[in-house]
Symmetry: C2
Subunit: 320 residues, 2 copies
């Protein structure tokens, strides 16, 4: 159901991008739209705003949670407030007179949903809303603007007297980020059996961290600090990663970070390159002399390639 | 009004500590009570739990807020959830079957108020509640246990059908921390004119950080990382403090941290000693030869004492 809603919205976005019915008749709306579109790296920044908001409310380090479905009702409500706070900070916006933001001097209200539709309070009537919607399972999000009008909302109210944009309302959204890619929630993306393997040891955060980087479905993907904290449930993610390096070396697993030769090695092995506070693990095999057909990295005088079925097991180089 | 409530509760706590009416008739309750009382550093730990919860929801680094009265309704509701999450993590508790915690195998519900009384949902009836109450303006808190019973609640319900402990109910609370001191919210404790001086420069986080440590009412008191982040509204509190040191040196102001000679100097000058991630600023005067009657610290071959009315202005020693 969400699938079709998303596709419909994107189709609507494309048709509106051509027709832009609001542009002539609503200059304030157009000013707000143009202001957002003039900001740099919109998709990355909104993606980080949403990722950070979800991760902070999940509070994985303290709770071990990584799935927003495990949030309590008060936390789900608060998630919208957190998105508003981080959006305001990220784009250096002030509060509006009656609404959450002031953009080019115009009041703009912030509405977030992790479900299929937004709920709009009566106070937002006639106001411009920044509508943000995310699907953490599928790793996608959308950001758009809508001037709320009675005929763009469904007739039914929820018990807080809020209403949702109708199909016509959703069709009238002017998208700022029509089809955003959310930074990955790697734990949510794993199979139940992979997660069980990672979380099996209830007592040792180090053991869980080791299993995270050992997991074949995690290898070759960026693992961020929040994921390590959620798995380890401890303060010092850096120390957990350092110790995991030592303990996984004999299994041929390296954990590459952002420092020294690490980014260069990641590129040589065709892996994503970690930025500060993120890592990528990889099982390697010592390929001896260079295989011209195979990507490899020279470390301590030896050549390592990404291990594949049929390769000999190797010990990973020290300190990686 | 809160004043008298707090005093009344403490008086009640003292009378109950002698009579302990529940002990014989409610062995589960007594087990839970004894479990908490057996934990080390109860006052410090609950104080940190509450401080951390309030500070995280205020989100001072992003919002500049330090007063819980500036929280929105959804944030005030969420604050109780945050206290529950941090309490669970701090005391390594599991979730209960139906309630928030399991303590000695018994369900215990968590209830927090920053007002004068708690609101108890119907589901908590007959259950043991951990009641936490804080007054951030006065820097005090209380933690106690109560087995919820119909005759311990006021008759009136709020619109969520929740009820509050009656005077008899509050009198029946068995206190774990009857009279706790909350880690100070230094910005909240300042006068409006001091705060205006600190927050005057809207553009420069560094300038605001300088004014924080320059403020005479802040000097001699522990300033924590959260306070610096709230004032600076930037990520790197350490760098802001380092730069403030350089910029305040000519005004004779030192900012002592937890490293090197700093704790020793703080002790020599009779100042509170900062732990990691906190600081204390002080205006000093070069007192030349030692004054045996005056506390002083030797730094770089010179003797410095805390500046007082009538002392000559001095430049502070470098790197402090």
């Amino acid at each position: 159901m969400e699938d079709s809603l998303f596709s419909r919205d994107i189709a609507a976005a494309q048709s509106i991008a051509q027709s832009t019915p609001d542009a002539g008749s609503d200059p304030q709306f157009l000013e707000v739209y143009n202001w957002f579109k003039a900001q740099s790296n919109l998709e990355d920044r909104f993606g980080q705003v949403i990722r950070q908001s979800i991760d902070e409310v999940l509070d994985g380090q303290r709770t071990g949670r990584f799935n927003f479905r495990d949030l309590e009702k008060t936390e789900k409500t608060y998630l919208g407030t957190k998105v508003e706070i981080i959006t305001r900070a990220e784009f250096d916006l002030n509060r509006g007179r009656a609404m959450d933001f002031s953009v080019c001097g115009h009041d703009v209200d912030s509405k977030f949903t992790i479900g299929s539709n937004w709920t709009i309070p009566r106070e937002a009537d006639q106001h411009i809303c920044l509508l943000i919607k995310a699907d953490d399972h599928r790793g996608i999000f959308q950001v758009g603007l809508l001037r709320i009008r009675d005929d763009l909302l469904n007739a039914g109210e929820n018990r807080d007297r809020k209403r949702s944009p109708s199909a016509a309302g959703r069709g009238a959204i002017r998208w700022i980020v029509p089809d955003g890619r959310l930074p990955e929630n790697i734990l949510l993306s794993l199979s139940e059996s992979d997660r069980e393997a990672i979380f099996r040891n209830e007592k040792s955060g180090q053991s869980r961290t080791n299993e995270l980087f050992r997991c074949p479905r995690v290898q070759g993907r960026i693992v961020n600090r929040n994921t390590v904290l959620t798995v380890a449930r401890q303060d010092d993610s850096l120390k957990r990663v350092r110790d995991a390096r030592n303990q996984l070396r004999s299994a041929g697993i390296m954990i590459l970070g952002h420092q020294g030769e690490h980014p260069h090695i990641a590129r040589s092995l065709d892996l994503p390159v970690p930025s500060k506070g993120s890592w990528v693990s990889v099982r390697v095999t010592d390929v001896g002399d260079l295989h011209p057909a195979r990507k490899s990295a020279q470390i301590g005088g030896r050549n390592y390639a990404v291990w594949g079925e049929g390769d000999a097991p190797s010990v990973a180089p020290p300190s990686y």
